[in-house]
């Protein structure tokens, strides 16, 4: 009951083409008296075939659907936590509120392997890649359903629909009319307040919501956060066949970031995020509709660091602690130069000043503008086609990351076509194709073919194959991150620099799956066997042969001393290349069992057999590799959630999540397996049309877990402890 092709077969446009018109319903007084014509007159065909979503049994890919009941049963308080339910998914919090979510691992803080769509709007960041999960915040109440397509699906969802796609469908404002207030408090001084009001004015349905959240994050670490959001979601019904959906949002976040250390110092980030989305839907006939959508995402991170001065840095070196502080800089200079320089001469010879270092790891601004036209039609009763064209303009701006004042932009044009063909009543063939041309890159073609054979109305076998690409991010293509001395005019040490014209990463996947749908017993079962091949993986590695800036020095001796000094910060530089290859053979299954309306059991499991390699470093022209792909991808994941509602409005639910040990790429560490037990108790009270929900939420009840980092110096941090929250929500 979901739609794998957001382009054509999803429900959102259905909701849009006719916004709610309850407001235009006749009042009590002028309702027509009941006549026989009331029973025999025609009604407009609302759910015509071209507007209906594709059911899960007809989708060509493995898919997990997280619906409202699962969301309510879950003790999750944010979107990434919900995604732990999906087989093969790994979720890591690298700071209190900062998460990374990946399918089949092999992703750092900015998991670039998945496309995430909110009501058709891509929230993938074009500079770093990945998803700013905190800023794109969605209240769990406003999520209607999350459809997670496991496996590549660029043919339907476009580039970066690489390892998977998370398609989030939110509630229509007309379905949430009234006012909602919610307060959550608990672990880590969490204070979370949400307020929303939805109503209709004339032909306009709208929902205005605002939220504020603050918390201290993990213990033993300065990663507290303060974020506020304001959003407006509206749907204007022009007439029976035309509607305009508009969503606007803005978020401001202030985050404590970093760890004790010279170049990863603790600091505050100021983030801004805003978006504007507008979509016009027009129903041409029962078998044809078009839509035109435009959106813009803006994301900025204000992150600039100044260290202590060079001499102060030298004074803090462990090796010099036995010396008088006034002598340490001279001793250091003399040691490094074999007695040739004292500190002043050292500065002069190396063309340095005794200044702080200035740098930024994250400071940037990004824009994504996207325009798309789509046409869905049915040339015959057993064939549904959607095709469309789109254009995108991505832009990144950051002197500190890209070493240029001007923004770097990249345009992209795409043409797509998807077809759902009922070759026989029991055989569905899904054919998809996407042709994309990125500025400065060769065009890429992403095909997909799937055959679903319904053995019985309840049993379906599917076979599918697909290929998809992940374009390098603006950062991967253009990075130039350095330490600067005092100002951006004085580059001192290069940390990350792009040196190659990168190709897109490529994934090919074939899968055979079984989907069992036993309505009478309330059981859905999905089993999937697959083989995935990742190639041209964009590896970040250390290239020791990349020279740091020579600072205009020509004296060979001074250059050698400079090189040694620079080596204190980093030898060589990180850079990117297309090298790595990973193969995964896996089995995943999930069971969704709802014996009654009050009960829910969901179980997900994934087992992967992984092999692959990556480039580790190049030094003196010699490359070294490591065959350790299996270490960066958890071999097994398991999730279980169970819930029961009692007569008196009480609902009790529990969840258990397990992820095998793994090594987080990027800044992360090798962490032991992660297992988490959650409980939630909810009391629902209704009176006079008003509703109150009070929840006690207990997370990570049974043991402590390291998340993303495993560093015990001086104290362990990023450790999940037992977390207790109390939540109260009123709707009226």
């Amino acid at each position: 009951m979901s739609h794998t092709k957001y382009r054509s077969f999803q429900i959102i446009p259905i909701g849009l083409f006719l916004a709610f018109q309850f407001s235009h319903a006749r009042s009590n007084d002028d309702i027509l008296a009941v006549t026989e014509s009331y029973f025999y007159d025609d009604l407009p065909v609302v759910l015509s075939a071209s507007r209906l979503a594709q059911s899960q049994s007809n989708t060509p890919s493995a898919m997990t659907v997280i619906d409202k009941k699962m969301i309510r049963a879950s003790a999750a308080l944010n979107l990434p936590d919900l995604l732990r339910l999906v087989p093969g998914f790994t979720v890591g919090f690298f700071a209190g509120t900062s998460a990374t979510v990946t399918y089949h691992g092999h992703a750092d803080e900015y998991a670039r392997d998945m496309q995430v769509l909110i009501d058709g709007r891509s929230v993938y960041d074009p500079v770093f890649g990945g998803i700013p999960w905190t800023e794109i915040y969605l209240s769990l109440d406003e999520i209607l359903r999350i459809e997670v397509i496991r496996g590549p699906n660029a043919a339907a969802y476009g580039s970066n629909s690489y390892a998977g796609v998370i398609n989030i469908v939110t509630e229509h404002p007309a379905d949430l009319t009234g006012t909602m207030l919610s307060v959550t408090t608990g672990y880590g001084k969490t204070r979370f307040v949400e307020a929303a009001h939805a109503d209709r004015v004339g032909r306009l349905d709208y929902r205005l919501s605002t939220s504020y959240k603050e918390g201290e994050g993990f213990d033993n670490r300065d990663d507290s956060s303060r974020t506020k959001w304001l959003k407006l979601d509206s749907d204007y019904n022009i007439d029976l066949n035309n509607s305009i959906r508009t969503t606007l949002g803005v978020a401001y976040g202030n985050y404590d970031e970093g760890l004790p250390g010279l170049l990863s110092q603790e600091r505050e980030l100021d983030n801004q995020y805003n978006y504007q989305f507008v979509e016009w839907n027009r129903v041409l006939s029962e078998k044809s509709k078009v839509s035109l959508q435009f959106y813009h995402n803006y994301y900025s991170i204000d992150d600039l660091n100044r260290t202590i001065s060079l001499s102060q840095q030298i004074s803090t070196l462990d090796l010099l602690q036995g010396f008088d502080e006034s002598l340490r800089a001279d001793i250091f200079a003399a040691t490094l130069s074999g007695g040739a320089y004292d500190f002043e001469a050292f500065l002069n010879a190396l063309n340095l000043t005794d200044s702080p270092m200035v740098y930024s790891w994250l400071g940037m601004k990004s824009h994504r503008y996207d325009l798309e036209f789509e046409h869905t039609f049915e040339p015959s009763d057993n064939l549904r086609i959607v095709w469309g064209v789109g254009a995108r303009h991505d832009r990144g701006e950051s002197y500190w990351l890209l070493q240029q004042d001007d923004p770097i932009s990249r345009d992209m044009y795409r043409l797509f076509l998807n077809a759902e063909w009922y070759a026989t009543p029991a055989t569905v063939i899904n054919l998809g194709s996407m042709l994309e041309k990125f500025e400065g890159k060769d065009h890429v073609f992403s095909p997909r073919l799937g055959i679903n054979q319904h053995l019985t109305p309840s049993d379906t076998i599917r076979i599918s194959g697909s290929r998809a690409y992940r374009m390098p991010t603006i950062y991967e293509d253009n990075s130039h991150v350095s330490l600067y001395l005092d100002s951006q005019d004085d580059e001192f040490n290069t940390w990350v620099i792009s040196t190659e014209d990168l190709e897109p990463e490529q994934i090919e996947r074939i899968e055979i799956g079984y989907f069992g749908h036993y309505t009478e017993y309330g059981v859905n079962f999905d089993l999937c066997l697959f083989h995935e091949e990742y190639s041209y993986i964009i590896d970040q590695y250390v290239h020791f042969d990349i020279a740091d800036p020579d600072r205009g020095i020509t004296d060979p001796f001074a250059l050698e001393v400079l090189s040694q000094l620079q080596g204190f910060y980093q030898n060589g530089a990180f850079t990117y290349t297309n090298f790595g290859e990973v193969e995964i053979d896996g089995i995943e299954f999930e069971i969704d069992f709802r014996p009654t309306n009050r009960d829910l059991i969901f179980l997900g499991f994934s087992y992967l057999d992984i092999s692959g390699n990556e480039l580790k470093r190049i030094k003196d022209g010699v490359a070294s590799f490591r065959e350790n792909a299996e270490e960066k991808i958890p071999k097994r994941t398991f999730s279980l959630i169970a819930s029961h509602s009692f007569d008196d409005g009480f609902t009790a639910s529990g969840a258990y999540y397990f992820t095998d040990e793994m090594e987080w790429p990027g800044e992360g560490d090798a962490v032991p397996n992660f297992s988490r037990l959650d409980l939630k108790l909810n009391k629902h009270i209704e009176f006079s049309g008003n509703e109150i929900d009070i929840s006690l939420i207990l997370q990570n009840l049974h043991n402590e877990n390291f998340d993303f980092f495993q560093n015990e110096d001086p104290d362990p941090f990023n450790v999940w402890e037992r977390r207790i929250y109390l939540q109260a929500k009123a709707s009226f």
Partner: protein
């Protein structure tokens, strides 16, 4: 169709006799003609099979706007189709035996007329609410929580639904509505807690302005809706049990046969005897709901009804 009606009317006027039956239509819409022609054909067939006098009866079909009133009094029986024809007959042809069909129960025609005193019988086109509830049971044992919106003044429907839910061991979630403005809010509340929605005929709740939104809202939540007409199913409801023109005609036919065989008509007011089921396969497929054949559902409903009778 207009030509056909004209021929029949003129032919009927020329040969009207005491043994004739007049079928009086409220208008020229297809539904009246469909019912009228089916009554004619099926009655003659049934009467022949049973060797009743009505096998040789002349049927005259006329609209009220073109009725030759004096001649009307010569008919042995008048069948009216639709509210207008029923009211016309009650006012102008009260001396005749009148069977009034194709009438919605909520029209309240019976209570405002002098039907208790007149020789007029009413055959409602509405299916009983119990029948819709039985359809829900027949569709799936999983549908335990049934959501229904009704007018806050409609105590009759509330009682019928509660009684039916109790018989079928279903849980009823009733939202009582006093204004069309509250349909959206009530629907949102219902959709949180029910397995399926049942639409009950009520112009305040289900009308051309609201049906689209009710269907869309329910579909967004993946909650199927049971309609009360074929049009509702074609618009997007999962299924409906309703009275087709043939069902109405057969009900009238059965009563004509009773009259000609000297039997009494059972009641002044009768709910629909026959029913038709329409199932929307495309919606079912999209909801991953097993596609059911209409005949299978009909058989299941008949079996369930028999079980109810035995209970």
């Amino acid at each position: 169709m207009v030509l056909f009606l004209g021929i029949l009317v003129s032919a009927g006027s020329a040969c009207a006799k005491d043994n004739s039956i007049l079928i009086l239509l409220s208008g020229n819409e297809d539904v009246y003609l469909d019912v009228a022609t089916t009554i004619t054909n099926s009655t003659i067939k049934l009467c022949r099979n049973r060797n009743l006098a009505c096998q040789d009866t002349n049927f005259e079909i006329s609209q009220i706007s073109s009725l030759d009133n004096p001649l009307a009094h010569n008919y042995r029986l008048i069948v009216t189709l639709g509210i207008k024809a029923a009211v016309y007959a009650e006012k102008n042809l009260a001396n005749n035996l009148i069977l009034s069909a194709l009438i919605p129960q909520n029209s309240n025609i019976f209570s405002v007329s002098h039907a208790n005193d007149a020789n007029q019988y009413y055959f409602y086109l509405d299916q009983s609410l119990h029948r819709s509830m039985v359809l829900i049971s027949a569709l799936s044992d999983r549908f335990k929580n049934i959501g229904v919106m009704i007018s806050d003044t409609d105590d009759t429907s509330a009682r019928q639904l509660e009684s039916s839910a109790s018989k079928l061991d279903l849980k009823l979630h009733l939202e009582k509505i006093n204004s069309s403005k509250h349909v959206g809010t009530s629907l949102s509340r219902l959709l949180h807690s029910v397995d399926i929605l049942l639409a009950v005929p009520d112009t305040k709740i289900h009308n051309k302005s609201t049906v689209s939104n009710i269907l869309i809202s329910a579909y967004r939540k993946r909650i199927p809706l049971i309609g009360f007409s074929s049009a509702y199913v074609k618009a997007g409801a999962l299924a409906a049990v309703y009275s087709s023109p043939e069902d109405i005609a057969y009900h009238v036919r059965d009563n004509i046969a009773k009259i000609y065989s000297g039997e009494d008509i059972e009641a002044k007011e009768q709910t629909a005897k026959y029913f038709t089921i329409l199932f929307n396969s495309e919606v079912a497929r999209s909801l991953d709901f097993p596609i059911k054949s209409e005949s299978e559902l009909t058989d299941k409903m008949v079996r369930k009804s028999k079980d109810d009778d035995h209970d």
